[in-house]
Point group: C2
């Protein structure tokens, strides 16, 4: 087995790309949302205020590519499709959830006394 650790501090290391995927504004919101269970396109649109259809689709697609989200198409008509976390995605969601919570908890501290003259 390889023991070459990816190092995002090196410009060419693909792991930096991953950081970009995860650090993505919308991914950071979509992933924890799916902790609550499978969601459909329209549901996600409603849950995440301000996201455009385009970005949602794009985000989901990318998350699927990286094995974080599973897209399930029921092949019905009218179309029914939902998205859920893969095991890998679930694992990541925990971490991101922690991050989100940190933000929520420390929001005041971050914004207060900003440059208190």
């Amino acid at each position: 087995m390889l023991d070459i650790k990816p190092d995002p501090y090196i410009a060419l290391c693909p792991s930096r790309q991953i950081i970009a995927v995860i650090g993505d504004k919308w991914s950071l919101l979509v992933i924890p949302l799916l902790l609550e269970g499978p969601m459909r396109n329209a549901e996600l649109m409603r849950a995440i205020e301000g996201i455009s259809q385009k970005m949602l689709t794009q985000t989901l697609k990318r998350l699927e590519e990286y094995n974080l989200v599973i897209r399930q198409d029921y092949g019905e008509v009218p179309p029914r499709v939902d998205y859920r976390l893969s095991p890998l995605g679930l694992s990541l969601a925990q971490v991101i959830g922690t991050l989100d919570n940190w933000v929520i908890e420390n929001f005041d501290a971050m914004t207060q006394t900003q440059k208190q003259a």
Copy 2:
């Protein structure tokens, strides 16, 4: 005390802005770096391959605004300035470090079998 929790899922909530700050590509790299101790501009430039002077400055400035990083100017000449994590930043760095490590650990899983036809 207020008990109104910030909710990044609401478009207008300022917490979303915070998510953006933290989720930022460069912030995600700078913050954990400072865990190793105070660093100077040039050091950071060297440590983070590919970052431009402009983005580094901009990133540091923003982190300082949000009370995550402390900028110390020794007022010497030639100029000597270094940056270190604030207590708040230190706390955040732990979380982000976890995220980064997750990426490093699960890098293979994310990229392997991508669309294994």
